[in-house]
Amino acid sequence: MPESPTFAQPDQNALLLPFAGSRREIAEYEANGGYSALQTALGMTSEQLVDEMIASNLRGRGGAGFPAGRKASFLAAGLDRYLVINGDESEPGTFKDREIMLRNPHMLIEGIIIYLWMIRGAGAYIYIRGEYAKEASILEGAIAQARAKGYIGSPLPGTDYVANVYVHRGAGAYICGEETALLASLNGERGQPTAKPPFPAVSGAFKKPTLLNNVETVATVPVIIGMGGAAYAGVGTEQSTGTKMFSLSGHVRNPGNYEMPLSATYRDLIEGKGGGMPEGRTLKAFVPGGSSMPILMPNQLDTGLAFEAVVAAGSMAGSGAVIVVDDRTCMVRFALRTAEFYMHESCGKCTPCREGTRWLTELLRKQEAGLGTLAEIDLLLEICNRVEGNCLCVLGDACAMPVRSHINNFRAEFEEHCRLGRCPCPDDAPMTELYPPLLKAPLPMVHAG
């Protein structure tokens, strides 16, 4: 994966990554004020820390946007409590946590130690997606440095509390980014979501009360403790405070990760940071928050990046993965590619997702080949309705929502496929720029195994 352009361009307004390049050495991190937030935190009680988090109004950066301070306050009492950091970043288009782990791993480690101290946790597990081998070894290195400095593995200054931090690599399942599936995988079980209750706050890692947070959420904690929750809440909008990492990809001049205040708009991101569309192309649509979200149209470019603004526009901010789609793109093929991904990643546990994602994919494959019927376009919509909201976790929804939005926004294109009996788009339609091809092979389950 190429390194993000932001490696070279420092962003003075950024809170998480305000510098160019990376700070993987602990000395460099400390020289720039690193681990000072931890010192501050050690002088605070758990309640004070939770209060500070609540004051910051930080919303979880993993996708759902749940207030992180409130989440921490739910954790059931108990001797053995664990912190799990979700680094299983797998939503197509999302690569922001990777940037944090690559460039500023100690900020994540510092956030973890502050969180652990806040909950007096027995240990923290960074569950990192299997493909992030380099990032995992960077984190291992950072942990070793923090251990040598006494931040990990020995009592923290002035306390008898010992923070323990471990890296656990996943095995490649997208669904293990879902919290209960992540915990099942961490516990050595098949990576599948489980019904809630019990919630992780009651029974999570090793069946003990567990607090689970996204990498970016945890990495933001030193910023909040450093500047104070109230000051942090001054950035962004009232309901969506602070800055957030956005992964910009697709048909845009300067793809990459950009840290944006949540008061900015998609236009600021796509046209401002991303430099707009490549020469001679126009914007057809954009995915506002990862491939599972309904797409937005060009006339919605001024939608705010804030969680509430995207919801008002009919989609969701999700993980902050913005995929720009230009006018050459076949939307049927885009829908098929999206559905294929979710079919491939469905864990197989619940019926609507397991069967529905496959049915959608096969019908879309027919549509894209021009073999579909007009009635099947309605059937596709009906299947989306029958999947969405009926599944054990939200993976089924993640397939149904974008497919529905593709059909609703570009129905004419679908109908044209049916009428012509083929895909009207040129053969070099730039699908591979949107996602790397994951599924070249035919559907795996059609023939006897």
Binding site: A195, G348, K349, C350, R354, T357, W359, R386, N390, C391
Partner: protein, 797 residues
């Protein structure tokens, strides 16, 4: 939880207000309290917490943003629930889930064995769409796929409800059946395509809500409308699991569980489910009398008259004890009562138990635990060399459940049993050291003291001495004793090599006669308790010296075969060769028929009518589905034989039972008609008395220098029926377990073919290596030829 402490919640389901105990799953509350069916596939409370996978039970909850699965949702106070009956949204979801399930289902109901008794078919009939919108090719798989010699899998029919894999991982805990691949490509599979290796595997065929997992033997055998299901009780062991025997055209084609929750919780072991006394044409079908050319068929009346005359003659000529009647704990109570009456009239010696200690187990009746006590136990201690599951199959599942529910599970023995891995305590002892272990525990508990603990009448000796005798670690013994002393409801499960006096001592110290908890000894024979209760008591090995001394001149074996089933095989054989009159009643030619002057047919499981008493003392009805091979029921010809002896024996099982109820205390208050299909446990606890004079346990036998000590308990997968059931061959395949250290010393690795040599011969088996098995011992899964304690050597082939 006592009745007064149950918190209740009140909620509304489809407009009906119901009040249910807090924590009740909504799906149960709706059905049981509101009479509203919420259809389900994956929900099965016996498999542990609900998983919400199939999504069939989606309902609308007022205030919830989306539909909720009624199986994973506990009833809440004030909850307003609308099921598919009243909610459009829920109805739409229900249709959706059924449509999704049927998308790739082959709909081959006309040729599916499940057709007619299939939950998917029933729910589709009731709620399903009338047509399909699936126009694409369906998923296909290779089929049928054997997952073991007993079970076939049809992956096309599978709706992936995960009941089977949950059974394997969460009930039997064998980890054999798993889901492989992901998403729509998910399939049920065994690891690396190896056969399902577990003695409870057959349960998955009953849990399967479609025709995906089927018993191989039942495939294409019958349609549900042409079979008769006869309610009966398994006689494979003393648990007494309730079963249906599926009868078609005078053949038992299938055995299903009949779920008596207090006995079997709806589980069966594979022996009970798959083992058959077949082929029937190899059975002994007529009386056989030894003539010049060997055993020759004889007329019933001739054979019985001769037998009566000769038995009467021996008794008259040689007096009391000249005749012996030996049973194996497998007769019905009524059959046994007949033989008991005959034996009494002939002043005959009797023996019914393959292991001597069992003969005295009535002495601990004051502490006898019902099976259900395991469920609520806070500590379960298993004492003996043998695995509980080998003696009483499904009891193992109960022990595992108790452990999962938080009971402290302790295993003591020489190691290498399946329960140790997850036990909280494992105390390794010498083989055959159960008595010393119990005595050590009794003293240690008395010394630990506690609210329920009695410290009078503790056995003689010290914990240190007895622990050393048992080969156990003293600190571990004391720690377990502390746990037991604090436990409110401890249950002791005793298998073999344990003397009753020591059980009595520990039970007394723990005060197990006072109600909670108890002792559960696991007998070998299915109706050993019942046979003792009608007067056929005593251990086989107590007879042997008299037989060898020539004091017994006539012996009758009714369903007993010490030549095959006892450790003293050779001694029995030699003694029988000198015995004047040997009668054998058996289903097949066996170890003792060779020396018999007269052989008579024995009825087996599905041919018998009567009652048996299970290990907890529950009297249950056995109902016949087939006529005996001989055409004459055992109880009928026993009555005829008695007639020749001028003894009154009732030949009708019902009348015989009512006689027992009138005359034998163990059956008091029961009646043939009142037993019902799921029998209650009627047992009065006698008062307990302080045990007196507990003898000092003897030291376990040491092996000869350079040899290993053999541990050879009788495994579950043994006996005439198992030996004749081809599909169980893989389950009875001989293995030889040796300790890791011994394996290293002998250069043996897992899977090697090894030969075990001992005084009585040699056997070949597959090597298993255990780090828990006591070094210096070898555990094998077949018995009979040499007993526990014998010296043996193991070498790679």
């Amino acid at each position: 939880m006592s009745a007064t402490q149950i918190d209740t919640v009140t909620l509304t389901v489809d407009g009906r207000e119901i009040t249910v105990p807090k924590g009740t799953p909504l799906v149960v509350a709706a059905a049981e309290h509101a009479g509203i069916e919420i259809p389900i596939f994956c929900y099965e409370p016996r498999l542990g917490p609900p998983i919400g996978a199939c999504r069939m039970c989606l309902v609308e909850i007022e205030g919830a943003p989306k539909l909720q699965a009624a199986c994973t949702l506990s009833c809440g106070d004030g909850m307003v629930v609308r099921t598919a009956g009243t909610s459009e949204q829920a109805k739409e979801a229900q249709d959706a889930v059924l449509e999704f399930m049927l998308l790739n289902h082959p709909l081959d109901c006309p040729v599916c064995d499940k057709g007619g008794e299939c939950p998917l078919q029933d729910l589709t009939f009731k709620y399903g769409p009338g047509n399909s919108r699936m126009t694409l090719p369906k998923r296909t798989y290779e089929k049928p796929l054997p997952i073991s010699p007993s079970i076939v899998l049809d992956r096309e029919r599978c709706i992936l409800c995960y009941r089977c894999t949950r059974f394997s991982s969460d009930v039997a805990e064998d980890g054999e059946l798993v889901a492989r691949e992901r998403g729509a490509a998910s399939v049920i599979a065994t690891f690396d395509e190896r056969p399902y290796d577990g003695v409870f595997s057959g349960n998955v065929t009953e849990l399967c809500p479609v025709g995906a997992l089927l018993p191989t033997a039942y495939r294409f055998k019958a349609r549900p409308w042409e079979i008769v299901n006869v309610p009966t009780v398994c006689t494979g062991c003393a648990t007494g699991c309730n079963t249906w025997s599926t009868l078609r055209e005078n053949r038992v084609e299938r055995i299903l569980s009949r779920n008596h929750a207090a006995v079997d919780e709806g589980w069966l072991c594979d022996k009970g489910r798959f083992a058959r006394y077949e082929p029937r044409d190899e059975r002994i079908a007529t009386p056989l009398v030894r003539g010049v050319a060997g055993l020759e068929p004889a007329e019933w009346d001739d054979a019985l008259r001769t037998m009566g005359q000769r038995l009467r003659h021996q008794s008259a000529a040689f007096g009391e004890g000249a005749v012996a009647v030996v049973t194996g704990g497998n007769l019905t109570n009524e059959e046994a009562a007949g033989w008991s009456a005959i034996a009494a009239d002939l002043k005959a010696r009797v023996a019914s138990a393959p292991i001597a200690a069992a003969a005295e187990w009535e002495r601990i009746d004051a502490c006898l635990a019902p099976l259900a006590a395991i469920d609520t136990a806070d500590a379960v201690v298993v004492i003996g060399d043998q695995e509980p599951g080998d003696r009483a199959g499904t009891v193992e599942l109960r022990i595992r459940k108790a452990r999962r529910d938080g009971a402290h599970l302790a295993i003591t023995g020489p190691g290498g049993s399946g329960l140790e891995a997850d036990a909280a305590t494992f105390i390794r002892t010498h083989p055959a050291a159960g008595s010393a272990m119990l005595a050590a525990l009794a003293i240690a508990v008395a010394e630990a003291g506690g609210e329920h603990v009695r410290s009078d009448a503790k056995p003689a000796g010290s914990v240190e001495e007895l622990a050393a005798l048992a080969g156990a670690d003293v600190a571990q013994v004391r720690e377990l004793a502390g746990t037991l002393a604090r436990a409110e409801r401890p249950v002791l499960i005793v298998t073999d090599h344990v003397a009753v006096a020591e059980i009595e001592a520990l039970a007394w110290v723990l005060g197990l006669d006072r109600g909670a908890g108890g002792v559960l000894p696991l007998p070998v024979g299915a109706n050993e308790r019942g046979e003792r209760a009608v007067g056929l008591a005593g251990g086989w090995d107590e007879l042997l010296p008299a037989l060898e001394a020539g004091e017994i001149s006539a012996i009758v074996f009714v369903g007993a075969d010490p030549v095959l089933d006892s450790a003293d095989s050779e001694r029995w054989q030699m003694a029988l060769a000198q015995t004047e009159f040997v009668v054998v009643v058996a289903p097949f030619t066996n170890g003792v028929t060779a020396q018999a002057q007269l052989v008579l047919p024995l009825d087996v499981d599905h041919e018998r009518e009567g009652t048996i008493m299970n290990l907890e003392g529950r009297v249950q009805r056995v109902r016949p589905s087939l006529a005996p091979v001989s055409g004459v029921p055992l109880i009928a010809w026993t009555s005829r034989l008695a007639g020749f002896l001028d003894v009154q024996v009732q030949g009708n099982p019902g009348k015989a039972f009512d006689q027992l109820a009138a005359t034998r205390p163990a059956f008091a208050g029961l009646s043939w008609k009142g037993l019902g299909e799921r029998a209650d446990l009627h047992r009065e606890r006698p008062a307990a008395a302080a045990p007196v004079g507990v003898p000092a346990p003897t030291a376990p036998i040491a092996a000869e220098p350079g040899a290993l000590r053999l541990i050879a308990p009788r495994p579950l997968m043994s006996g005439a029926a198992v030996a004749r059931t081809e599909s169980l061959a893989h389950q009875r395949a001989p293995w030889v377990m040796i300790a890791h250290a011994d394996a290293q010393a002998g250069g043996i690795t897992r899977g090697d073919e090894v030969v075990v040599r001992h005084a009585a011969g040699e056997h070949i088996g597959t090597a298993r290596i255990s780090r828990r098995l006591l070094p210096g011992t070898v555990r094998i899964n077949w018995s009979g030829a040499a007993g526990t304690g014998a010296s043996a050597t193991v070498e790679a082939q």
